[in-house]
């Protein structure tokens, strides 16, 4: 589908939001395990050492990062900044660039 870059970042903002709605269950489960007891804390650490768990955490973190960056752009636009046609395109490019960098950094940190 041929869509402008602003449409893609908007759709991705929605998609990441829906994804996080489910992804939050993983994070709350993790919080539960991390606080329940010293044993469950260690169990969680062991679980997070597996590549699959790292991938899941990275995916949720990536969703969180993208949704946050795109959300901050929304807040900035609410103040009337970057509302023009060129501003919108520049904002969308910036959101993608910043998100990619942060998601890669998060990946390095998780592994």
């Amino acid at each position: 589908m041929r869509l402008p870059i602003t449409a893609w970042t908007s759709i991705a903002h929605r998609a990441s939001g829906v994804f996080l709605f489910a992804g939050m269950a993983v994070l709350i489960w993790g919080l539960d395990a991390s606080l329940a007891s010293p044993e469950s804390f260690e169990g969680l650490k062991e679980c997070l050492a597996s590549p699959l768990a790292k991938l899941v955490i990275w995916a949720v973190t990536a969703g969180l990062i993208y949704h946050s960056v795109a959300g901050i752009k929304h807040l900035i636009m609410d103040f009337g900044i970057g509302e023009s046609m060129e501003g919108g395109v520049r904002g969308a490019r910036l959101v993608i660039a910043v998100s990619v960098v942060l998601i890669l950094l998060a990946g390095i940190w998780i592994w």
Binding site: R14, G17, V18, F21, M24, A25, I28, L31, D32, S34, L35, A36, S37, P38, F41, E42, L64, S68, G71, I72, H74, L75, D78, W109
Partner: protein, 120 residues
């Protein structure tokens, strides 16, 4: 006047504002947690952090914000795609079911979170 009965605050402007207020709370919570985790935690320090009253208040605030934020966001998505125009006659049933599942999930997250914060 037609009132949107399934939106968060029954008003677009109210939802618009709540979406932003909750977004700022959630963002500050996640940035804070990221900073704590990057500083490195063991069970004792992590548990000590979550036994502080201010941390429990901050966490519960984030939890409520998540419920409101997800409600407003999912409402926007459902009312855009799960409609009679796009889904045919079953559109309304689909949308109501999806919204019910969303509400139930958010309620579960909040109660689950309260249990984690005060039950352990």
């Amino acid at each position: 006047m037609v009132t949107a009965v399934t939106s968060m605050g029954r008003s677009g402007l109210y939802d618009w504002l709540m979406q932003r207020v909750t977004a700022v709370i959630l963002l500050s919570y996640f940035v804070f947690i990221a900073c704590v985790l990057m500083g490195g935690v063991d069970y004792a320090s992590w548990k000590a952090l979550y036994s502080q009253t201010w941390m429990r208040i901050f966490s519960l605030m984030a939890l409520f914000s998540l419920g409101i934020h997800a409600w407003v966001g999912m409402w926007a998505v459902f009312t855009d795609y799960l409609t009679e125009r796009l889904m045919g006659t079953r559109g309304n049933i689909l949308r109501f079911t999806a919204q019910s599942v969303c509400a139930l999930t958010m309620f579960t997250y909040v109660v689950w979170g309260i249990q984690i914060l005060w039950g352990n």
